[in-house]
Symmetry: C2
């Protein structure tokens, strides 16, 4: 059966994104060569500029893919928790753990913001952030949290988790530091609880 035109195109896009994901993770955005990257995918730079416009466009596509994966996973973990509050903590811990992945760290947390700008402006809307925000919104409506700005709280929590992950990843004994980070994260999050006012 002959392949449809649009299908091979979709396949090529996927190949390029996969190769870019690998190259960006291993060498970093700046050091990744488009020639090598496309050759790895069995294509040339022509395909790249046709599909993604430029190098930044490719990074954006990669970030979007990873970010989406992260969000769905975080939501899944959060939903598995008993209540919304436990879910929030679980999401935070999950976020910290995901950020331990060098791929996530390098691409989404380091090069992403530096090259693409503020994450909340990304097309993927930093899905992870949105999920956290919604959970916080629900908790505020339920009266469990202080009536702080949900967006602000979600942002700061994510920022805290992010830095925790960077810290853990850079440490010599990640497994030793992880529980400390999670403990501190839980403590900070508890500051949002109404009871602690």
């Amino acid at each position: 059966m002959a392949k449809k035109r649009s299908q091979t195109m979709e396949e090529n896009r996927a190949k390029l994104i996969a190769a870019a994901r690998k190259a960006f993770a291993e060498k970093g955005y700046a050091a990744a060569s488009m020639d090598e990257l496309t050759a790895e995918a069995g294509l040339t730079r022509g395909a790249l500029y046709h599909n993604f416009g430029d190098k930044r466009g490719l990074l954006a596509a990669v970030v979007d893919k990873i970010d989406t994966e992260m969000a769905s996973r975080a939501q899944e973990i959060g939903a598995r928790a008993g209540d919304d509050w436990q879910g929030l903590l679980a999401e935070g811990a999950a976020y910290i753990e995901m950020a331990l992945d060098p791929e996530v760290q390098r691409i989404v947390l380091l090069d992403g913001p530096a090259v693409l700008g503020d994450p909340s402006q990304w097309p993927s809307q930093s899905s992870c952030l949105q999920a956290t925000r919604q959970t916080i919104d629900r908790l505020i409506v339920q009266g469990a949290l202080k009536p702080v700005d949900a967006e602000a709280a979600a942002r700061l929590l994510n920022g805290a988790a992010l830095n925790a992950a960077l810290w853990i990843a850079a440490s010599d004994e990640p497994q030793d530091v992880l529980p400390k980070a999670v403990e501190a994260f839980d403590a900070l999050a508890a500051g949002l609880l109404k009871a602690s006012a």
Copy 2:
């Protein structure tokens, strides 16, 4: 009076750092040209590679300078507060406000980590972080805070403040968002207080 050799060298280093600070802030690290940058300082790339080794070395020097300035300012503000707890909150707010400076944002918060790696590994030790850590340490000894890991707490607080700043800077109405961010920051920090356990 004839200038000493070491003196002119120090002056040239300062000129290069100043020019780099401007160029990096305006164009970003990647887009800043070393030729233009050195010409702006009245020198050539030769001086640059002799003094700083490479482009990264220059960025490191710039980051170190800004970071040091930030730390001294934060400590000054913190020391002016009534007690250590108020000082911690004041430092956090000061950090958020300083991060509103485009120069700080672009160089220290975006390009810095992307190019130089984790801030806590920098020679300046991310002085800001150290200051926060020490304050937290004191508060734990005083029994005001839960006995969490001071390093972890300092890291997460800084991360929260950092993201708050990025958020504010990217927003349309910074002055409108700033108080929300500070409020959320204070709430999170309150989670560290023993009384809230």
